[in-house]
């Protein structure tokens, strides 16, 4: 398992390629029949307004711990081999990836369900906060919508 909170932009597919070849393929060669991935990227619109940029604040320490607890809970419910979570903080521009959640499992049902569960739990529990920059003002995002 790897959980990374980072200030700098990241390339999700390259990060997956690297993590899978360096870690997952090494430890679980021939065992991971299924991987499910979600990538959330910054859109340039929200609630009817054009969004120029975004600042992501987080609670250092608690964020990593809470994501670790979310993954541990998922492991109790599904048969997972490995997990990778990357989340941006700091200043973002439209199109930039915000979050990556990836899981590897022997079976596709576990991979699909655990990936979605981890993502929804991240949205509702991990201490991150978004502030959107509009043309001439900024605003905190109120709350995340339910994803089910």
């Amino acid at each position: 398992m790897k959980i990374e909170i980072r200030e700098l932009p990241f390339a999700p597919w390259e990060a997956l390629q690297r993590y899978e070849s360096e870690v997952v393929a090494d430890r679980y060669s021939g065992k991971f029949g299924a991987s499910a991935v979600f990538v959330g990227s910054m859109r340039d619109f929200n609630e009817g307004d054009e969004v120029r940029g975004m600042t992501l604040e987080h609670y250092p320490g608690m964020t990593e711990q809470e994501l670790g607890r979310i993954v541990a809970e998922a492991r109790e419910q599904w048969a997972l081999l490995d997990e990778l979570i990357i989340h941006r903080v700091g200043d973002l521009l439209p199109n930039e990836p915000i979050v990556l959640v990836a899981v590897w499992s022997a079976h596709r049902k576990d991979a699909f369900e655990a990936c979605r569960h981890i993502m929804e739990a991240l949205k509702s529990r991990a201490p991150f906060w978004k502030k959107e920059q509009l043309d001439s003002s900024s605003r905190w995002v109120d709350k995340n919508t339910d994803g089910y």
Binding site: Y59, G61, M62, L122, F128, W129, K130, W140, K143
Partner: protein, 77 residues
């Protein structure tokens, strides 16, 4: 005893600071810490509370040296 208080995001802006060390009586809950740190303001109903980086109920007891955090609904992902 003293506890470390933290505020995040819009709450940090409203409080005008990101935290403080607060002196409080020996028997205190997270809600008591809020009152001491906010100068007696009512805690907004949507505020989330974490003690030592774990979510908890505002009624949870705190101990000397605890880190008590208050923040608005989270909006990551």
């Amino acid at each position: 005893m003293t506890v470390k208080v933290k505020f995040f995001a819009s709450l940090k802006e409203q409080m005008g600071c990101d935290g403080a060390t607060v002196a409080i009586g020996e028997v205190a809950t997270a809600a008591d810490v809020w009152l001491a740190a906010s100068g007696g303001k009512a805690m907004p109903t949507n505020v989330l509370v974490a003690v030592n980086m774990e979510y908890c109920d505002p009624n949870q007891r705190v101990r000397s040296g605890d880190e008590v955090a208050f923040f608005p609904p989270v909006t990551g992902g």
